[in-house]
């Protein structure tokens, strides 16, 4: 009998010990899987090399973001220096300085602040149609951007991506890429310029917004456009296809 009890004690002790280790392993793995699911760019794969590459990709993306912040800061500094240089009374006439500012705004490298309007557009919630008609496409965004510029916009940003002279609005699968950055609906348009005329483009019968929002057609959901006395658009922080400034 004592031998049997001894065996049971031994069994319990070893089983408990192993259970603790197993529990530890399970929870660690659980945390790992959760961490992998949380970060979108990180793919869980059984191949460590693919995993390593995915990790590196997300790291580089973060670095890029930080570097873009640096570019923005340096551009601002440069702008301040230029302002000082012209104010110091060099022989740069004020028209040249104004022109420079104007072209920089047009190029999108300066943050803009001024009166403007904002609205959001997102996929249609209507059903009973093919999905292709209901989602907001890159071509829709391009049409809207064109319409806004025609309607008196001086600068436009979609989801804080400033539309510049070299901005591409392209479709990559289910989402849209602007300035090489992925943006997804709802798309928030901000436009600085003549607020009144821009508002009027929404009322234009047969205009882009009328067509895209038509309840009998595409029926994209537009929010009611709002006028703002002062709106700030961020500057574009990427590079210009290798052009130096």
């Amino acid at each position: 009998m004592p031998k049997k009890i001894n065996a049971r004690v031994k069994l319990t002790i070893s089983l408990t010990m192993i259970s603790v280790i197993l529990g530890l392993m399970l929870s660690m793995q659980y945390k790992n899987t959760r961490a992998a699911a949380n970060t979108q760019s990180q793919v869980t794969t059984t191949d460590p090399k693919a995993q390593y590459t995915a990790d590196q990709l997300s790291r580089i993306k973060e670095q890029n973001k930080a570097l873009e912040g640096d570019i923005e800061k340096l551009r601002k500094e440069l702008y301040e220096f230029e302002k000082q240089a012209t104010q110091a009374g060099n022989n740069v006439p004020p028209e040249v300085r104004d022109d420079l500012t104007k072209y920089k705004i047009m190029a999108g490298v300066l943050p803009v602040k001024g009166p403007g309007i904002s609205f959001t557009v997102t996929d249609s919630i209507k059903d009973g149609q093919t999905t292709n008609l209901l989602i907001t496409h890159d071509s829709d965004l391009r049409m809207m951007v064109n319409e806004m510029f025609i309607g008196g916009a001086e600068a436009i940003a979609i989801n804080d991506q400033r539309i510049t002279t070299t901005s591409g609005i392209i479709c990559i699968g289910p989402i849209v890429m602007i300035n090489g950055v992925k943006v997804s609906p709802p798309f928030e348009f901000k436009a600085v310029g003549q607020a009144q005329t821009m508002m009027a483009t929404f009322e234009l019968r047969g205009g882009v917004f009328d067509l895209l929002g038509d309840p009998g057609g595409r029926a994209l959901s537009f929010s009611k456009p709002k006028m703002h006395p002062s709106l700030t658009l961020p500057a574009y922080a990427g590079d210009f296809n290798g052009l130096s400034e």
Partner: protein
């Protein structure tokens, strides 16, 4: 008596979640295969104890040996470009089911003999 290992398991999970232990994501696949081996060993141990052929040194050495071997096998597989990982998943998966089936059969038999008395 049977609850003590279960409490141990809960303690292990609690420790793992509360302590800031984390493994680099790229080794996650080795850990998963090691977990499978460990589960297999634990169920094997339970089965052996029901069959009254439990040997604690065999059990503990089996746990560590199987776990490490599974991870090593997966590692070698990655180096050679062969999915040895799958072989381990398959082997341990089959054994796991066999062990659970044996445990179930033993339990059923035991309850049958008890009611028979």
């Amino acid at each position: 008596m049977i609850w003590i290992p279960v409490i141990g398991l809960a303690l292990g999970v609690f420790l793992g979640l509360s302590l800031d232990l984390s493994l680099s994501l790229q080794y996650s696949s080795y850990l998963s295969i090691a977990i499978l081996a460990a589960l297999d060993t634990v169920f094997g141990g339970i089965r052996a104890s029901l069959e009254r052929s439990f040997d604690s040194s065999v059990f503990i050495s089996g746990f560590f040996f199987n776990t490490l071997l599974a991870a090593l096998l997966a590692f070698i597989g990655v180096q050679l470009g062969v999915d040895l990982y799958l072989a381990a998943v398959f082997a341990f998966g089959v054994r796991l089911f066999n062990n659970i089936a044996a445990i179930r059969r033993l339990m059923v038999n035991r309850s049958r003999t008890q009611t028979g008395k």
